[in-house]
Every structure is written in structure tokens, then in C-alpha cells.
Amino acid sequence: MIEEFPGYKGTALQALKKAGAEIGDIIRIVKNGITYEGLLIPRSEYGDDKHIVIKLKSGYNVGIRITSTTSIEKVGAGVKPAFVPPPLPKQKPDLPKVAIISTGGTIASRVDYRTGGVRPALSASDLYSVVPELSEIAIIDAEILFSIFSEDMTPKHWPEIAKAVAKHIENGASGVVVAHGTDTMAYTSAALSFALQSLPVPVILVGSQRSADRPSSDAATNLTGAVAAAARAPFAEVVLAMHGTISDKSIVFHRGTKVRKCHTSRRDAFKSVNAKPLAEMENEKITMLTEDYRRRNHARKLILKPNFEDKVALVKFHPGLNPKIIEWYVHEGYKGIIIEGSGLGHVGKYCLPPIREAIESNVVVAMTSQCIWGRVNMKVYDSGRDLLEIGVIPLEDMLPETALAKLMWIFGQTKNVEEAKKLLLTNIAYEISPRTTAESGAE
């Protein structure tokens, strides 16, 4: 694949090169006596090497198979449309300042109808022009930190995000929005909840479940909700802002340590688990759903603890799990293992010996449940009691993903295993709730 001809290879690429045509040029293809004329369009990387895609005058794309008798001719050079941004909305100087940090995923974009390309809108002026309502809410300071898919996000990226957030807070932002792809957004929200302590203002992670190029996208609604909360919500915690239902009605703010992506595609994919959401916004009004939260206080001094240790694993127990996997982690020098056990926090007997060995080798092993909703309790059955006896730490109602991020963060702060164990059970960012009410149960 060559950059000037995205997606084209083999026969099709040769034919295009021979014709001297570039993407966006008008080309004429004659095949079996039929003439097709249109703009040369990039081809999907997963397409074969035998078709050329053109955009007909009617606007439709069609693929023409190239055979030995097909002739291709360039009949006109492409005219690259010059982007004329619409006039920017007038900035209101007395509004709060909000920083938006982009990490990837497109929270706003515009479409190139000529080639079908979708370009992300990342700069402040881009964001204003695509979502003009933002200028009514805050003065935006936009920063592009990464441009990666959320599945490519690793614990190595978390310190960068935490430091960027801290910098904006120190510069006087009334709140910080982190735009993030949704797949691993809940891991990042948990990680930031530990890395950014004693927050004076809110930090809001936001994403979208339907791409920003479509008129029905949830992106703009989520973004305006996130910016509004960053500008004026009464809380000062790390939260994740997304749709509350499948309607474009309410934006829900989930606590960073208590949220999980529970649906592959719906707008309301994110749910607070073992907790109620922290707050909700409808018709621009933010309502707190609990009294127990950290209040916004611009005088409070942020404590930044941005380091993470990536040698911590999350292991899901399943029938027939090969216990050697645990041995492998120990052998590789992992410092902690979070187990996603069955039910109340169990694994098969055949996993006990390597777990015991791991603990004896100073690896911290802790238990969460793959049930997602509920609390582990390892005192009810023998298999749980056995695990407790060999030193597995039960993590109450902590989410497995949160437990992973927390243990990674802990080993970023200390090398001391005993201190790590103590920290693991210390409630730092509302990750453990001492009581589970019926309201915070599964839906």
C-alpha cells in the first residue's frame, strides 16, 4: 500500500499509476463498452486488489473490477476543497475556563463528502465550530495529548494523562475534560481516580458510542454535558460522563472507580456498578444523586501521584483454567495478580498450588468477582476459606478493572508488599463501599 493511494495495491494500483491518476482526480474507466466516470476514491485496506472505487456524479461510490481490457484515463485533476471554517462564536470572557484533553477517539468531527474521509475536530476553534454551544458554557483550552484508539491505551499512557490534567488545574482551569475512546475508558477513569488525589475541581472523562460524523451521534451531547460539569458541577472527583438512557435526554456522571462498560454499542453502555451514579444532568441542570462526595474547592491543593507499575495482571477464572498461567506471571516477575473469581470469589481447587506459590514468592494476590454486581465473600464455602488461608485478599465490592488499576498504581507508589496489601484495602477514591443497597444492584 502506498500513501498516495490509500487502500490500493496489486493490479488496481498498477492501473492507477499507469493512468497517472491520484485520489480526488476525475477518471474515466471504459470496460466492455461501458463508460464510468467519477472521482477516484480511497479504497478500504481490507478490499481486494482488483477493484477501483469511484464516486459518480450522483454521489454514489461504485467499485469497478479491473481486467486486461479495462482502460483508465485521467480526465480532470482533483480540486481539493478549501476548508472555510464558519465564523467562530463570540467568546464570553466571564465564563469559566475548561481544558479539553484529547487522547484519541473522535468526540467531534467533520466529513469530507468528496472522498468520504472523516476528520476529527481537535483544536479549540475546531470544537467551537462543530459544537458552537460550547462557547456558551466555557472558555475552552484544547490540547491533543495522544491520537490512539482506546484499546491501544496502556498503563504507560496513564501518567501522561494525569500530568496533563494536573497542569491544566494548576493553570486555573475550573475543570478538565478528557476525551477518550470508550473501550478502555473505565480503566483510565479508575487509574486517574488514584493518580489525582485531593482534587479541587472535577475531571470528566467523556466518549461517544456512535461516531461523531453522524447526525445522531451522542458525541456532542456528551461533550457539552462534560464541559458543563467541568465548568460548574459542585463535585471535585474523577467521573465518566455518558448518556443515561438511549434517549438524548440525560447525561450521567459515574464515579471513576465504580463504572463499567456494560454494552458493546448502546449509548447508555456505561453503568455505575455497586453504586449509584454521582450526578445527573438534564435540561442543563446538574443534580447530585448522593450527599457523600468531595466538594469543589478551588483553594484545595491537588496531590499528583502519577506512577503506575505495569507488572500486575488480571486473571479471569473459568472452568478448566490452566494453572500454569499463574506460574508464568510469577516467573515473569509480576508483582500482583487480581483474580476475577467465580461467584463469591472462588477458583477451582486445581488452581490453589500455584496461587500459594505466588503468594510465597511475595506476589500480591487479590480476589474480585466476575459476577460484576455484588461483593466477594470467601467465608461461605470451603474453596473461599482455602483461598483466604493461603493469603488471597478479598476485595469487597471493588470492580476487577478498578482493582487492576489500583494495584498497578499502588506498586507505582511503593515496593513494600505489606504496605501494598494495606493500601489495597484502604478506601482511596470510593472504590470500596462498606454497604451495598438494593438500589445499587444489577439492573
Partner: protein, 641 residues
């Protein structure tokens, strides 16, 4: 309205058709939902907003952005059976339905169009709420076919497959209701070149395309399953796109009315130019005139003022008298302005001085208003009672439209009414906003696949017509009607399984059905099975063919009833020979004098009298046989005396 006899070629009429027909597939175009509508209350509702996407050029569709700015929200209604997360735009589309593509390719091959090697699904931006995504998924499958319309070749530029849109259920304030059962039902789209030069030709072309579609035997039938869009222009006029003509029979009327409309608008332009109307003189000076109406007898204005709304007016310089010019039957220029005001300002209606005094507004109020607006006798005043925002949007749209009237005919998209007239729908969208549907991979069409399709193409309409005439003894007119009806298959099934005369079956399915529809019966309620049962009962002598219209109209009113129930409830069961003889005896007895007067010549009169009593309950030939026998007996008795 003066009936104009128009020479369409002289005025440069050019029309093109775009026919959309629902395909009878097992599932929707991009998911496995049932492609059916529901009548019950919705099980699921959700509220959305659609935000116009900015293009790379920094442009957004002005009408779309306007609706967004007005805070228009869409309330979608769904049922679990007919919609899943795909229609709700809560899940990416599944693969393109191959059955639908196959039907479209079959049509393409029937009209000698050239299938494309690789089909790419596109997103066509549609932001009125009729698509939950904000775009319609559409693809072209073949290009450059042609059809024959009475010897003229009409090029078919485009054959495509696309998803049908959601059904609009109503509007309340800024909330528009749509039902998403129809969303995603596969449609075939067939577009002709704009080479149609008369209303009749448009209708014939639409009929010819309809015949080909039905020949595939894989399209849906019934009202609402086929929709025609028509592009019409005349010389000096403008391109108008008319959407949603639901019946083929309306096509020529729609074209006629649109030509009338454009000609009338040109006359208005000429009249305005003659009296020196200038675009600059029609100003956006919107004035609060509430005080004039403080004591008004107009109920609409009183009601509005109660809700703290005010009366706002604007002057249309030199428009006096023109607002009552009729553009098409029942549609005056004033009505056009009202439709436009409704679209842009969401106002219920407007008042204009050409239609006043009326509606409880007095001549005195009009005088005051004209004085207040400094309107000369040549000027018209338009006013509306609403909020300042709505009234301003509405009246600005009115002045804009008035300025366009000075220039002639504006380009616009109009919606068809059931009587063939049209109404303003929206401005014509800018250049097609299409971009690739990246969630659906393109599909490749191989030569082997196409030759397979070619080998089993359905019978072409002309061949089928010839065969129907030969095989079933239908005359040409009936055979053609069968082809043009939705019942060709049903006709053949009934003709094969019963001994009822094919001509009777054909007439029932075409002329009788058409007559019933005209009388307002919902014939689409009658199932194929009911119709076949009816012919079986006629075949077995349990009811008579004369009862067909009654049975069908009863079935149309009684969903899920059986034909036997119809026969029973209508008292149409056949009477026994004994009962028939008694009836005949009685009739003869009551009219004895007839025999004495006319002798055997009384047969016809008797036949009429008896059939009146037994129509649908006895076969006419039976009646005739018994009557003949009895008359013969009686006459021979008389003669013997």
C-alpha cells in the same frame, strides 16, 4: 379555475421519475427484523436530536441547521418485533441483505441495465428525523437500463437498493413523532432520465416500471408500498422535486398540477413586473400590531393573546390581490405562504389582507392595520399571532418567498397530497451529501452469479400477458388489467384450483377490487387465502359469482373472518332448488297478468323480477332453466284451454 389546454412540448416540460418500491424480503435491509408495520401502541419510545454534521467545506445544510436550532426533537416509537437496536441506531448495521440485492439485480437484468462489479453502501444525509441515524443507507446496484413505453425508449439511469424511512406519526410543538417499524424495509429505487415530456407519458412510464417490478413477484403490495418521486421543470420555471406520490394513477395529475402551478407563478411574476414590483421593496420590517386587535372578534387571535402571544405583521409591497391567485385547484399563493410560514416558524397559520375581512376580523381592523403598516392599496399585509421568535421566523420566510415570486419560480421540494396537488415541504437540499457507510463492507457481484440470475429471469410482462390470454382465454383488456393489478399470481392460483371462469376471476380481482377501493373499502385487508376460499366456494356451488362484490366488501370490513362467515352473514348462501321453485311460483302467481299479456315474451321481465330476489343466492342459469320450464308448462296449459 380556467381549464387550460396546455401544449406541453411548447412550454418545455421535462420530467423524470424516481420509483421506490418495497421488496418482499424475509428480513429488513440491515438486520433480521420483520419488515412489517404495527398498529398497536408502541412498546418502546425514545427521544433524540439530530445535529447537522459539518462538511469538510465548513458547510451545513441550512434547513437542517435551522430545525436543529429550533430545538426540534424526535420521539421514536417502536415495537419489539419490528425493530431492534439497529433501527434504534444503538448497534451498527449487519451485512447488506443479499435477497434484496438479488431482487434489484433481477430487475436490472430485466431492463438490460449493467450491474456494478462492487456495490458500496452510502450514507445519504437526511436530517428530518425519518432516519434515526440522520442518514439513509443507500447503494446503486446497476446503471443504464431502458424501458419501452409505447415504442419510446426511456433510459433508466439508476437502479438502487435503500432502506425505507420511519413513518411520521404527527407533530406536537417542537416534537416530531416517527414510528421506526418501516425504517429499514428494503426498497428498490429506479430512476428514469428526465426525458418525459407529458403527464400521460409520465404515467405510462410509471406503469411500465410497476409492471416490471411486479413481474419479479417479489415486491410488497398495497397502499404505501410504492412511492413515486417526480422531478418536474418547465422552461423559465424551476426544478421541483415532488415526493411521495402513492398511486400510479396520480402521476399524470401531479405533473399537470405542477405545470399549472409553475405557469401561474410565472403569470404572477409578469403581473408583479408590470406594476414595477422590486425585490428591495419587500422588506423584513416586522411590526408588533397587537394593539389594533385588542378588541378583536377573531377567536384565533384572542386565544393567542390569552397565551401572551402577540400579533406581528409585515407588508408585502405591490402584492395586493395576488395572494388569492390560484396556483392549483384549492391552492392559492396565500396558502403557499402559510405552508412556508409553518415550516420555518412552526406557526399554525397566517392571515393576509387578500382574504379579509373574515375569521371575525373586521373591515375596520383591516383599515387600521393598513394605515399602521403604511400599506397603499397595491400592497398586501401578512400577519400572524405567535411568539416573537416564531412570528419573526415565519414572516421572514414569507417575505423571502414574496421576493422569490418577483423573480419567478423557486426550486423546492414538495410533498404530494392524495388528490394530486402538492404542498411546500422544504427547500431543495444542496449538493448530495453522501459518504461511505464504513460499517457495511462492499459486496462483489461475480459474472457467474449474474449468469445464474439471467438463467432464471421472471417472465416479462408482455410475455405474461400473451400467455394469460392464451392459457386462460382472457381478452386483452382483462389480461392487461391483471398484469397491472397486484393479483396476477392470485389470479393464476384461483384459476388453476377451481373451475370458475378465469374471466370471472380476473374481473373480480381487477374491476371489482378497483370499484370497491373507489367506494372507500380497504381491500388490502382481504388476504389471498380469503380470495381463494371465495372462489372455491363458488366452484362448489355454496355461493354464487354474483355475490363476489358483497363478499369482498364484507371481508374488507371484517379482519380475519372466513368467507363462509361472510356468506352466512350476508345471507348469500345458495338456496335449494325447492326454495327457488317456491320463489319462482310466487313471482309468477303475483304477476299472472303478464303471461296473459305477453305470452312467452314475459320471460325477460320475470327473470328480472326473480333475480332481484335471489341474486347471489342462485345461479342465473338455474333460475332461467326453472323459469323456462314453468312458463312452458303454464303456456301449454293456457293453449290447451
Amino acid at each position: 379555475m380556467i381549464i387550460m389546454s396546455i401544449d406541453y412540448s411548447r412550454i418545455g416540460l421535462k420530467a423524470g421519475l424516481e420509483i421506490h418500491q418495497q421488496l418482499n424480503t424475509a428480513a429488513k435491509l440491515f438486520c433480521s427484523c420483520k419488515p412489517e408495520l404495527f398498529k398497536e401502541q408502541p412498546e418502546i419510545t425514545f427521544l433524540r436530536r439530530l445535529r447537522p454534521t459539518q462538511s469538510e467545506l465548513g458547510q451545513i445544510d441550512p434547513a437542517a441547521f435551522f430545525e436543529f436550532r429550533k430545538g426540534v426533537k424526535i420521539l421514536y416509537e417502536a415495537s419489539g418485533e419490528t425493530a431492534c437496536l439497529v433501527e434504534m441506531d444503538e448497534e451498527p448495521p449487519h451485512d447488506l441483505n443479499r435477497e434484496a440485492v438479488e431482487i434489484a439485480l433481477t430487475v436490472a437484468l430485466m431492463i438490460d441495465a449493467k450491474p456494478l462489479d462492487e456495490i458500496h453502501v452510502m450514507r445519504k444525509t437526511v436530517i428530518d428525523g425519518s432516519n434515526t441515524t440522520g442518514f439513509q443507507r443507500t447503494c446503486v446496484v446497476a446503471l443504464n437500463g431502458e424501458i419501452d413505453v409505447e415504442g419510446k425508449r426511456i433510459p433508466i439511469q439508476h437502479i438502487g437498493v435503500e432502506e425505507d424511512a420511519a413513518r411520521k406519526m404527527g407533530e406536537e410543538g417542537t416534537i416530531i413523532k416517527y414510528r421506526i417499524d418501516r425504517l429499514g424495509i428494503p426498497l428498490i429505487e429506479i430512476a428514469t432520465a428526465p426525458v418525459i415530456y407529458s403527464p400521460q407519458e409520465a404515467e405510462k412510464a410509471a406503469l411500465a416500471i410497476g409492471r416490471i417490478l411486479r413481474a419479479t413477484r417479489r415486491v410488497k403490495r398495497g397502499l404505501g408500498t410504492i412511492r413515486q418521486d417526480i422531478n418536474i421543470s418547465i422552461r423559465d420555471g424551476a426544478l421541483t422535486e415532488i415526493k411521495g406520490v402513492q398511486e400510479l394513477e396520480l402521476v399524470s395529475k401531479v405533473v399537470e398540477y405542477e405545470v399549472q402551478r409553475q405557469l401561474s407563478l410565472l403569470k404572477i411574476r409578469d403581473a408583479l413586473n408590470k406594476i414595477g414590483a422590486q425585490k428591495e421593496d419587500v422588506k423584513d420590517e416586522i411590526v408588533d400590531v397587537t394593539s389594533i386587535f385588542s378588541q378583536t372578534g377573531c377567536r384565533v387571535i384572542k386565544e393567542a393573546m390569552k397565551q401572551n402571544k402577540r400579533v406581528w405583521a409585515v407588508k408585502l409591497s405591490k402584492f395586493s390581490g395576488l395572494l388569492k391567485t390560484e396556483l392549483m385547484p384549492g391552492v392559492r399563493l396565500g396558502k403557499e405562504l402559510a405552508d412556508i410560514a409553518h415550516f420555518w416558524g412552526r406557526v399554525g397559520g397566517i392571515f393576509h389582507t387578500d382574504e379579509l375581512p373574515a375569521y371575525g376580523i373586521s373591515a375596520e381592523e383591516i383599515d387600521q392595520l393598513k394605515r399602521f403598516m403604511k400599506a397603499e392599496h397595491q400592497d398586501a399585509v401578512v400577519f400572524v399571532a405567535d411568539t416573537e421568535e416564531n412570528a419573526t421566523d415565519a414572516l421572514k420566510a414569507v417575505t423571502q418567498r414574496a421576493r422569490e415570486a418577483i423573480e419567478g419560480v423557486p426550486e423546492e421540494t414538495r410533498a404530494a397530497n392524495p388528490d394530486g396537488t402538492t404542498r411546500y415541504m422544504r427547500p431543495r437540499p444542496g449538493a448530495a451529501r453522501m459518504y461511505p457507510e464504513t460499517d457495511v463492507p462492499p459486496i462483489q457481484i461475480t459474472e457467474e452469479y449474474l449468469s445464474g440470475l439471467r438463467a432464471r429471469l421472471p417472465e416479462m410482462p408482455e410475455e405474461k400477458m400473451k400467455r394469460l390470454m392464451k392459457q386462460y382465454g382472457l381478452n386483452a383488456k382483462l389480461a392487461k388489467q391483471v398484469i397491472d393489478s397486484e393479483y396476477a399470481d392470485l389470479f393464476e392460483a384461483a384459476a388453476k384450483e377451481t373451475k370458475v371462469s378465469p374471466t370471472v376471476i380476473a374481473a373480480a380481482l381487477t374491476e371489482t377490487m378497483k370499484a370497491l377501493r373507489r367506494e372507500g373499502f380497504e381491500t388490502e385487508m382481504i388476504t389471498d387465502e380469503q380470495i381463494r376460499e371465495m372462489f372455491r366456494l363458488i366452484d362448489s356451488g355454496e355461493t354464487a359469482k354474483e355475490a363476489i362484490p358483497n363478499i369482498l366488501s364484507w371481508l374488507a370490513q371484517h379482519e380475519r373472518a372466513t368467507v363462509k362467515e361472510a356468506v352466512k352473514n350476508l345471507g348469500l348462501a345458495m338456496i335449494s332448488l325447492e326454495e327457488l321453485e317456491t320463489i319462482i311460483n310466487n313471482v309468477i302467481e303475483e304477476n299472472k297478468s303478464l303471461i296473459q299479456k305477453k305470452g312467452s315474451g314475459a320471460f325477460g321481465t320475470f327473470m328480472g323480477l326473480i333475480m332481484e330476489k335471489v341474486r347471489g343466492k342462485a345461479e342465473a342459469h338455474m333460475v332461467s332453466e326453472v323459469l323456462k320450464r314453468k312458463l312452458k308448462k303454464l303456456l301449454s296449459k293456457c293453449n290447451a284451454k
